[in-house]
Amino acid sequence: MTKDDFWQGVRGGFPIVVSASPFGALFGALAVDNGFSVFDAVFMSMTVYAGASQMVGIELFGNKVQPWLIVLSIFAVNFRHILYSASITRHIGHFTAVQKIFTFFLLVDPQYAETEKRAERGDPVTFAWYLGFAMIIYIPWQFMTFLGAFFGQMIGDPKAIGLDVLLPIYFMSLVLGFRKRDNWLPVVAVSSLASVAAMHFVGSPWHVSIGAMAGILLAACLPPPKQQPEPVTLENEA
């Protein structure tokens, strides 16, 4: 039963591996490009284990942004996980405390989506299933990071093979992924303009914090949406 659940999880997670693998390799290659060693890149994938925020982290590190701002930005990009953990709490009441720690550590976007779907279907959310699904994502993520970093190290100039455009495009895809959120367009417009102006008048790395604060303050000042939003909505982010 437990073993069956585990393998069911592994099979279920397989499509995720296929779509996430290029990003793992991309992270590894770009991490090396931003001054990481192969070890550092894999170490980050193993401990942080949150692709989009890892990309943000290496970009800021490469720009010599202050450490507190790097950590805060990673925290901010991962903030949506608070919604995920709040939402799956209903389904994992029967896990032990140690199992819960592993559960939350491994709670990436597809893991959350699949757990909710499974619970909605009425299938039992067992720890064995959860772990199987998680491992088939976690282990290849490390392996792809290693491959990307290893080969990235051999490529001298990332510009020569067009790697330098991939991070801004990837971040743009993340920004587009949030477009259903309240105040999305004004926030993006104000943060973009403020960061461009700050880059010009103040300089890097301050454009990140100045631009981000402008958009966040705007969102706090805009009138709140009339309708109370759903407590937890799954968005296709990262």
Binding site: S19, P22, M172, V208, I216
Partner: protein
């Protein structure tokens, strides 16, 4: 990178890992305590990712050179319909083509 700098990087990664874990367990802790976030704070928090990420996109577009800008523009159009992987492919193809033919 010297060894002090490398130690800093390892510490940053560990702090990032802890911060990420806090977001992943935070909702559970909140539900257990049943506290509500004030609406304006929630609106501000909701805006954080798009706000931070925009600051990584817009300056690259404006100051990155016209080859990068062209590549990002095409990727944007692709991204309105297709997934991020296609955006990356499209943007990469454009920048490689532009650099090849313009001799950049």
């Amino acid at each position: 990178m010297d060894s002090t700098e490398h130690m800093h990087l390892i510490l940053i990664i560990l702090a990032a890992a802890l911060a990420t874990f806090l977001t992943r367990i935070g909702g559970y802790v909140m539900i257990m305590q049943m506290k509500r976030i004030p609406p304006r704070m929630e609106a501000a928090l909701n805006a954080v990712p798009a706000a931070v990420l925009s600051t990584l996109v817009a300056p690259a577009f404006v100051y990155g050179g016209w080859d990068v800008a062209a590549s990002m523009l095409v990727a944007f159009v692709v991204g309105l319909r297709f997934s991020s992987l296609w955006m990356l492919w499209a943007g990469w193809l454009v920048v490689m083509a532009v650099r090849h033919f313009a001799g950049l």
